[in-house]
Amino acid sequence: SQQGEEDPQALSIQEGENATMNCSYKTSINNLQWYRQNSGRGLVHLILIRSNEREKHSGRLRVTLDTSKKSSSLLITASRAADTASYFCATDAFGAGSYQLTFGKGTKLSVIP
């Protein structure tokens, strides 16, 4: 079952603009991760934010986490055509000695040169 839900489903912007994607989830988490998937490829890890962190940066990426609202956002600044891809949030959960890392359905980002 999907834990995270990304919003919007698709986003089209001009090169140089900023892109913001949101992720909402339902249950308590330990960490939240963002991944990117280029067409026909596997997912690539971008950034991880822990539940006790509110904001994290990595290059042109900025991730925020609001555990009270059970939501996260991924901001890509000064977008490039090469940023065109699908972006997924992934949330983890422990339960009954097990561990699950579940993904949302993703936001498809198109950056127009």
Binding site: N31, R50, S98, Y99, Q100, K105
Partner: protein, 116 residues
């Protein structure tokens, strides 16, 4: 760069046939995940191994799917018999388990399965 290797990359088969997908996780990683990706359902977790032990396969249809790790360098996902609804891209991912739960995954390129 260390990679997760999946074979085959593409597989076309007929309904009722057995399909076996293989995955070589990154050396030193102790967790392996199998996911299935379709347009309708997105990424679904099928099975999860830690130190070669299956910890969670609740997402996997038990009657036809099976997942194993015969050794630390090989994970397999088998479908028998296959059905058209199994058509999807199957991803293997490996990671290094941390007690903090920060399990960052490296994905393989996927196995695209088409069942006719």
């Amino acid at each position: 760069d260390a990679r997760v290797t999946q074979t085959p990359r593409h597989k076309v088969t007929e309904m009722g046939q057995e399909v076996t997908m293989r995955c070589q996780p990154i050396l030193g990683h102790n967790t392996v995940f199998w996911y299935r990706q379709t347009m309708m359902q997105g990424l679904e977790l099928l099975a999860y191994f830690r130190n070669r032990a299956p910890l969670d396969d609740s997402g996997m249809p038990k009657d036809r799917f099976s997942a194993e790790m015969p050794d630390a360098t090989l994970a397999t996902l088998k479908i028998q018999p296959s059905e058209p609804r199994d058509s999807a891209v199957y991803f293997c991912a490996s990671g290094l388990w941390q007690t903090s739960g920060a399990n960052v995954l490296t994905f393989g390129a996927g196995s695209r399965l088409t069942v006719l």
